[in-house]
Symmetry: C2
């Protein structure tokens, strides 16, 4: 096969894979946002059939022939096309190692579990969810063994979400975080506490919806290409850079919950919206890893969204939509939005204790995949870890082990990327400040210098570079978690006036 023919066929193949994945993505998004509950079974059948077609396309003889032809011309390929070959080889290795029936069956299982998890969470009924979690753990272990028999199975799981991440790196990273965060949290707990009662003001649904639109505009999201949906557990999904969806969950007595969901998911969306047109419909399109993705979302949520300047910026909108908030100053709101305290729910956790929630899940996942714990014992393990790391008693499964959707969606190995992303974000902040007046830009209500920097250093690359390579180029050096712990020390010392205690 000639090079030009092989490249043409590669484009056609990836365009077709895109179409199937697009349809699968919309089916899933619709299932989360709009579909009636009873539609889960037909949706599962449809997704199983379409997943099977993707599998055949991606691992079939034609895909092999294209790859073989391209390999013979590696020196003549552009950097992007070389990377496409590399990415396809990796995913083909993974897919070909898993028999098609198992792959399709797993997709159908995940679709079924979604509804079970939702119901189990509402009923706080772990035993209802347990057999499904068991099947998901077994499938993850089995896939790890099939694809990478020489690799530690949990390292395989981690690598799915952040290429190159290992237990060893996590143990070291989380160890460092614990050493810094736990004593800092003790000092925060001992300091005079911040008034937060006014945050539970009644903020009607319709007005919170208006606030979401305003926030998306404030952080520079182009609404022609980004929608917003309402779900139990917020997430972002993207089909192309011209069609991204964020989601949120409204609580009329806790407006900050949706506010920071929108800014967090908005960070994910900006990353996806910021890719290059030329990469659309190819495997170079989209974010490269969960860690890099979370670095963007948590940067917007915390570094931008919880800054004094951002609170001042959105204060007039907040007072317009919810006049009772006008009885408090922007400074009071800033401090209330940065309260740190041990709590039960990860998604509502503050910036300081957030990583402790992640560490609980990291220890749970290691135990699940290494098989050292039975599924029936997982709630006790969860509760014990929350007591140990955060000092709180978990009252029920709804506010305990059933709170997150990740495991029900097959995402074992995902959680550590949240903490890693937060640490990436702090190091990006330090680097960006060398050339961008970040807080000045926020104060001026124009985030384009910030978005421009991130586009130039992160977004535009899509999947061209490996995560470590991408981040080190952006940092101008190796990853260093001290940027993150220093950032937390500085911020919470200031918010709680710890240097004056």
């Amino acid at each position: 096969m000639e090079l030009s023919e092989a490249l043409k066929k590669l484009n056609d193949l990836e365009a077709k894979e895109f179409a199937y994945n697009h349809a699968l993505g919309i089916l899933s998004y619709d299932g989360e946002t709009s579909a009636p509950k009873g539609g889960a079974e037909p949706r599962g059948r449809t997704m199983g059939i379409l997943s099977g077609e993707v599998y055949k396309l991606s691992t079939g003889e034609e895909a092999m022939r294209i790859l073989d032809a391209l390999r013979e011309h590696m020196d003549e390929l552009s950097e992007g096309d070389r990377r496409r070959v590399e990415l396809r080889e990796k995913s083909m290795r993974e897919l070909r190692a898993i028999p098609q029936e198992e792959y399709t069956g797993y997709q159908e299982l995940l679709n079924e579990v979604s509804a079970v998890w939702h119901e189990a969470k509402v009923k706080s009924d772990y035993p209802m969810f347990e057999p499904y979690l068991g099947k998901i753990i077994d499938a993850n272990r089995r896939f790890a063994g099939l694809v990478a028999p020489d690799m530690d199975p949990y390292n395989y799981c981690l690598d799915q979400y952040e290429e190159g991440l290992t237990k060893e790196r996590c143990d070291e990273f989380f160890g460092e975080l614990r050493r810094e965060i736990v004593p800092l949290l003790e000092r925060v707990k001992a300091a005079p506490q911040i008034e937060t009662g006014f945050l539970s003001v009644d903020f009607p649904l319709e007005d919170q919806r208006k606030l979401s639109n305003r926030l998306m505009e404030r952080i520079g999201i182009d609404r022609r290409y980004c929608g917003i949906g309402e779900v139990e557990h917020p997430f972002t999904t993207n089909f192309t850079k011209w069609d991204v969806r964020i989601t949120t969950n409204y609580d009329t007595r806790n407006f900050l919950s949706s506010l920071y969901s929108v800014v967090h998911e908005g960070g994910h969306a900006l990353y996806e919206l910021g890719g290059e047109d030329r990469d659309m419909y190819t495997s170079l399109c989209g974010g490269i890893s969960m860690g890099v993705h979370e670095s963007q979302s948590r940067f917007y949520e915390n570094v931008i969204g919880r800054s004094r300047e951002f609170i001042k910026l959105i204060y007039p909108d907040l007072v317009l939509l919810c006049p009772a908030l006008g009885e408090h100053t922007p400074e009071e709101l800033y401090r209330a939005a940065n309260v740190a305290a041990p709590s039960l729910i990860r998604t509502e956790a503050d910036e300081l204790t957030y990583s402790l929630h992640i560490m609980v899940r990291y220890e749970m996942e290691k135990a699940m995949i290494e098989g050292g714990v039975k599924t029936g014992e997982l709630p006790d393990m969860w509760n014990a870890l929350y007591k140990e790391y955060l000092g709180v008693d978990v009252p029920d499964a709804r506010r305990g082990i059933l709170q997150d959707s990740h495991w029900s969606g097959g995402g074992i190995g995902y959680f550590p990327s949240y903490a890693l992303g937060s640490a990436y974000g702090a190091q990006l902040l330090a680097k960006m400040r060398e050339s961008v007046d970040i807080y000045g830009a926020i104060a001026a209500g124009d985030l384009s210098p910030v978005n421009g920097w991130l586009r130039e250093h992160i977004w535009k690359y899509g999947r061209l570079k490996k995560p470590t390579e991408l981040m080190e180029a952006a940092f101008g050096g190796p990853f260093d978690p001290h940027y993150y712990t220093d950032y937390l020390q500085r911020k919470f010392t200031e918010v709680y006036g710890l240097d004056k205690c």
Copy 2:
């Protein structure tokens, strides 16, 4: 091929076609309800690729082989399987007559036009829409010529939506309606007018959403299997009997608009929800024709929804959600909901003048397909027909030729089925009253006797019978439009007290 093997292969083929059509349906529904505007292009690509796959499946050699095998065993087939063969033969004849590139290109065109029509309507800009309408008319004419070269092209279009419907039957039917409705409308216009000003009370969006849920419950929709979305122009779509979606459009100053959209679309939904489990994932699943579908939706909207008993039934809900309505009696509301007067917008037209709006579109479609009018002249023709039939002056294209989505979605030949459906509904009412106390059931707030009758006579059959055969069996005799004109005479004589004038 053995019979059992052929049947197994038929089931597999139809299950796979179902999966692709399900994905296409969800992509389209999402495009109408949730997708950001900029996502139209990638969605069009995806739908083009998936439509191409359906085309290949439905017309390919394997499908031919299955049909050939089944034809050899026609005598041994069940009634349902014989009908499946017949339905496949019809659609295969149609699809095979249209080259694949044209078929796929047309699907992509329709996806593109959807966004153009939405924008053109907002801007009241017919010239923006005109070239696309031209392409759609050309494609319909061309497909008619390819599939049924011996048939009148507009009769082919009509037959797509109501098997066996012809211009001749329409001319006779619409002639009869005009003869009865026009003088009746004149008498109504001369009678003392009904007070309707209070209908434009402010009814907040959130409360109208609650009302929609209550209405769906009132007409007996099982919400486990039916969702509701918000769109510019309401429609119903179904994927299986376990996943149906209705849509509505809220106007805070016109609550009746959404109220009757919900009841109308709810009628469509009940039909789809009422099929037999055993027909799922086969070509027997779903409503048989647009005329039969509209007979259900317009029965719920008008016969049920605009009855004195239904207004009394929902009156407490209305007053609870919108206390200002409590200043008026149920009787005042009943009369206001049944006001008849010439107007501009079909979807807001009353029961009496509705068919006149349809006649305008029928004359337009005949002219479009027969080619007697240029696309540039269509707005003038529209406006002249509105003046002639309804006596109103059309102020702009938004409230004129651009008001409906049907033509932008390729639906030429669809409109007459609305009027036919209304007439079917009146004849169903007459027949059903022989055994069911319809108004007693409504008054008691339990529509199950009505739903049960319709399930038994219409819904459960899915696509097993041809529309005429189905309706004649339900009527216990041939279709007779006098049931409809008599119903209108009786109802509007009573509402306007014409017998006392």
